[in-house]
Symmetry: none
Subunit: 427 residues, 2 copies
């Protein structure tokens, strides 16, 4: 049986008084496709990592794909780079960057918008180029590259550098930009390398404020009442690291459909094949219909595992727009309609984490999950939302339980559980 | 946001035919405060350690407080001693003791009441003093000290002793008192030290029966139809061990309200500040109203984490009194009424383990948990009891998940999950 895994980024949320429920609960009153799957399928509530732990999207995804974060996580920057088409060489470290807005207060830079008003790609590209020139002039072994909207990648090069440093991004508004520092508890030689990397990162942060704040683009943005993109936030150092391919680990022939650099990077790192979809942008105006068609196309082409990522529910929560999040999720439901006609296919729908539309950040509450397949154990859940699926037949599960359940439901598990079996006997 | 954590000791139970439910289910039909919190909050079912594992109260508590039992557990005796106001010196080992009732059968002492009919404090104190004299006369490096009701602490002193020995308490009625022995698998030097300790413990057990059985207090108790307190049961060897303070581990300024020595000891070991409440006894007649007032007082005083322990639900289950347990729990609900007027506060209500009113002992079934706070994700649970909350939005969680959830709900987690952040950057 083939598998479609649909991950709606940041799908879970908190109680929103004006919606009298979470955005998903509110939207689910008008669901057709997702409620059909919930009614005919088996549901549960999933903690992506563990209760109370808000994972970043990459950690949420890797947990769901069944990878061991402790052992196999290369750092976010690696995925961001791969997603932007940059293959890291040995000795290179990549970081995720945001163009952001800060206000100077004494010697601190207070973050007032972590995404500079989700600045347009063309303006952002120009600012990234300007920053790149300034970095070169200083002779720093680094390079920034624009990806999508405010997002970019920073590459550090050098044998005496490692990426085990803390983020400059405070992950919260009204807080100062943070000093990058080596992670605690590193052995001395690694500590020194991390310290070298941290110094460069902190220098680039200063440079970014110096060259961007007074740039013409930002002068114009201020005139138009838009937040200036006057600094760069740096986070998630990562290195190239071989991760066991998804096909080898789970025995599937996998394809993926995703727009965001991070998600492309994760899927590429796991060796999934990309299905290109025109108009897939990772924003609320993305081509949802095209993405679902891409999914069906991938199945027709013989892929037996298709990972479909839908991003903007998360963006709208970060922007504290619960109503718009609910509306976008309702559009996803409508776009998923063709999926419910699939035969001999297991469809799994879930999220990589919850994002609060009140607090504007990832939170550690669980997300709903539905497994929909012919003759699957049916429970009494009739709606796809946090509270309905929590009463489902699976109870509470973890992100790492998803792949074993997929193998089992599609008859790929063996009755011996985790006991190994040998190869065929040759006579 | 401030936090109130209310632990109702042994709150979960089994199905009691005459109540057509658990004592908590029965009581919950008349709940106001707890059902309000369940209706407006987020519920789940919590396995204090793991499904099927009945923890002792200290292990249940430490799991909920987020400590690693394997690495950080000093042994129960340490907490009992601290709770009784005894600070263990280096080389001292403490044990928890009970005055109990035995019947001699040949050369065995059969336990017929593990608490000697919950003997009064004044009688118990006298018997502990008599035992202490006898221990001194024999020249043993040990001392007993009465705490509450039948309970006490035994201190062993000596460089050649360790507390890694088995309990003399069979933890079951109708069974003989057990011989203390070194834990299996100890390395030889530790084995010898444990053997020395075990010998003293076994000797003290014999002495206790010899001096207590014929004592006047017990002669009188027998005449009045009361079980004699004619032996001492010894369990839970513990040593002084630094445990990372709660404030340092979780960033709260914590206070506690508890009557039992064990719970005081745990909270003191974690560096929580004590709020004294007159009439708090750890018995069914404890001053519940005063304890709740103490909790509000602590919040007013600026503590941002208040741990409130309520003991007697557990006692009544050990005594196989399910109806009285239900009545006591209903009194707790009424006493909690002022809590439901708190603003900007997360209130968590749960138990440290289930205790069976049929079997009279801790059992490995989960306990209900509710998280009540403004704008928390609301589920469809309307009653605070084992079966209702198991359908809540959290699904099944573990004791160790409680603190991460508390941090997350009160906005103390970071979006990076468990990755660290550095100090502000100075430009």
């Amino acid at each position: 049986m083939r598998v479609v895994l649909i991950i709606i980024d940041g799908v879970g949320d908190e109680y929103i008084p004006q919606l009298d429920g979470t955005p998903l609960e509110y939207a689910s009153k008008k669901f057709t496709a997702l409620n059909k799957m919930a009614s005919e399928g088996m549901c549960g509530i999933m903690h992506p990592v563990a209760p109370g732990i808000p994972p970043s999207s990459d950690i949420g995804h890797l947990s769901i794909f069944g990878y061991d974060i402790e052992k196999e996580y290369p750092g976010r920057g690696y995925f961001e780079a791969l997603g932007a088409g940059i293959k890291l060489a040995k000795g290179e470290i990549a970081f995720r960057t945001n163009l952001a807005t800060v206000r100077q207060e004494g010697r601190h830079l207070i973050v007032t918008d972590r995404r500079a008003g989700r600045i347009s790609g063309s303006q952002a590209e120009e600012l990234y180029n300007i920053l790149n020139e300034a970095i070169k002039e200083e002779g720093l072994p680094a390079e920034v590259k624009h990806t999508l909207e405010h997002r970019g990648v920073l590459i550090l090069r050098g044998e005496d550098l490692i990426g085990a440093i803390t983020d400059t991004d405070p992950h919260e508004l009204g807080k100062p930009i943070l000093k990058a520092e080596p992670w605690r508890g590193l052995p001395e030689n690694l500590y020194n390398q991390a310290e070298n990397a941290a110094k460069i990162i902190n220098r680039i942060t200063e440079i970014s404020y110096r060259v961007l704040d007074k740039n013409n683009i930002n002068v114009e943005r201020r005139k138009s009442g838009l937040p200036p993109a006057n600094v760069i936030l740096i986070r998630g150092g990562g290195i190239a690291k071989r991760i066991r391919p998804f096909s080898e680990k789970w025995g599937f022939r996998p394809a993926f459909i995703a727009a965001g650099a991070l998600y492309k990077g994760i899927a590429r790192a796991l060796g999934m094949n990309e299905i290109h979809v025109k108009g897939a942008t990772g924003t609320p105006t993305t081509n949802l219909k095209g993405k679902v068609e891409g999914c069906l196309r991938a199945l027709d082409a013989g892929y037996d595992f298709v990972y479909l990522h839908i991003k903007a529910a998360d963006n709208l929560s970060h922007d504290k727009k619960p109503k718009e999040k609910a509306e976008f999720i309702l559009r996803i439901d409508k776009a998923l309609e063709p999926i419910t006609s699939l035969e001999e296919t297991l469809v799994v729908v879930t999220g990589d984490h919850s994002t609060s539309s009140i607090r504007g950040r990832h939170i550690g509450l669980p997300v709903p999950v539905v497994f929909w397949a012919p003759e699957i154990r049916r429970d009494r859940v009739r709606m796809f939302n946090e509270n309905s699926t929590s009463m489902g037949a699976l109870g509470g599960i973890r992100g790492k339980d998803i792949m074993p359940l997929i193998l089992d439901i599609t008859d790929r598990s063996t009755e011996t559980g985790t006991l190994p079996l040998g190869p065929p006997l040759t006579i």
